[in-house]
Symmetry: C2
Subunit: 244 residues, 2 copies
DNA sequence: AACAGGGTTTCTGTATACAAAAGCTCCAAC
DNA sequence: GTTGGAGCTTTTGTATACAGAAACCCTGTT
């Protein structure tokens, strides 16, 4: 039973002794994020159970959580599948994130202490380095870390949790709808500018900054009206399962 | 095994033949909303299973969903309990809802068709009547229906879903923190004014209107710093289970 | 060649059994 | 009076068995 998670499962088993549903959620989530599990992929409970070496009970719990996170779809009596957000939903997710992240950074403006600002600055720097050296996965990781840090430090934790969700969802659709020719969705100026404005403490400036950043990101996507094609793929597409 | 849901379970069994996890989620949720299940109440899986006549599998699924909806808390190897949001979380939930619902109604302003406006008008009227006749449960039902309708009709469905969640969460904390002396959290002018502004089509006016409405609602709550007492009650309070 | 239909296979829904963890009770010791 | 701990009870975690639904495949017919 070979799978894309072979080594990680072995490592986890060695370290913790047992695979938890959280572990499965995490692995499936990142696989979707990195498009190793394309939209429409069937995720039968027994197959996942075999791969991770657990019974269906654990897999079911993981799938329920993934469904709550909008990563997979679960319909009664049908196999869970990797979700394929439509173009429309993509636009709406970005709009929602602009609203929520805008408010979060507005609340955060001028309220971050030096240590946190330094952390962000270092992440911005490392993102730029990763991009310069062509290491796109590492670049994405650092970029996500910046936004996750903002969500985590949100003075309003309810909004923070909502933002965490939205960051995941936008990441998935970015992976899905990235223009074919584009190597990276990197906007060199944006994160440094964000940092500057966060330091300045002007709420409305930061809100605007993040707003423009997210709008620019959305504009980098290919959201032309291929939606019908994508939808059909999601509904009819028969792809092989997760096992290789 | 007598319970607060006896008749509804009998009815559902007669109608559908089997109790689904959705049914359990719904019943627990409304019981929390109406404070028949106060915060901290233990919800052991077997007890719920006995009450609803299903096995633990179904109950577990229901509890997982309720946890995702922030209605109950689930910690490893511990009984699920009805959640007791803190004063701080209450304030944050209201702030989040002001942001999201404000945006939703701003998007909605002037875009509702006549039929929908008539529906809202009728709900506003019926809420007023229920309040006049002292029927508070019915008043709450109509009030919730108005806001749920707005969430459902949101042009941005992602924001709409988020609003649905926030309406539920604010309802729970309203029930929790309502001033002891207050019979009802009814603001006679607010919903009619909202309707007028929705008709007018002025986005910013509607946003302001809903913002003020939600702020007024929050101000009706007793959020004085008894939080420690509430928190202790939630953590240490041993109440009897759901069975009577 | 396209299509309908029946049987088989696959997969999910639910119940249940057993193991392990947490909580409780009661008693003894300080 | 309070603390500590052993043993019991309660409750969850996980695996598994079986039933039923959906999907698939293969055949026979038009």
């Amino acid at each position: 039973m070979s799978s894309i998670w072979q080594e990680e499962i072995a490592a986890e088993t060695r370290a913790v002794g047992r695979i938890s549903d959280r572990f499965i959620v995490d692995k499936v989530r990142t696989a979707v994020l990195t498009q190793r599990l394309p939209p429409g992929t069937r995720l039968p409970e027994v197959v996942l159970g075999d791969i991770f070496g657990v019974s269906r009970s654990v897999v079911r719990k993981a799938l329920t959580r993934l469904a709550a996170d909008y990563v997979v779809t679960q319909q009664p009596n049908q196999v869970a599948r990797v979700r394929a957000p439509s173009v429309e939903e993509t636009r709406e997710t970005f709009a929602a994130r602009r609203l929520v992240e805008g408010e979060v950074v507005a609340l955060l403006a001028g309220r971050l202490d030096d240590a946190q600002l330094v952390t962000i600055a270092s992440l911005v720097e490392r993102e730029a380095e990763a991009h310069a050296s062509g290491d796109e996965p590492s670049r994405i990781e650092h970029s996500l870390a910046i936004h996750h840090l903002l969500a985590e430090r949100s003075p309003n934790r309810v909004l923070g949790a909502m933002l965490t969700d939205l960051i995941l969802r936008t990441s998935i659709v970015i992976a899905l709808y990235k223009r074919a020719g584009l190597a990276s969705c990197y906007l060199a100026e944006d994160h440094p500018a964000l940092l500057t404005h966060l330091r300045s403490g002007k709420s409305e400036a930061v809100r605007c900054c993040i707003h423009d950043h997210l709008q620019a990101l959305e504009n980098l996507l290919d959201l032309s009206t291929r939606e019908t094609r994508i939808d059909l793929m999601a509904i009819l597409g028969q792809r092989e399962g997760v096992a290789e």
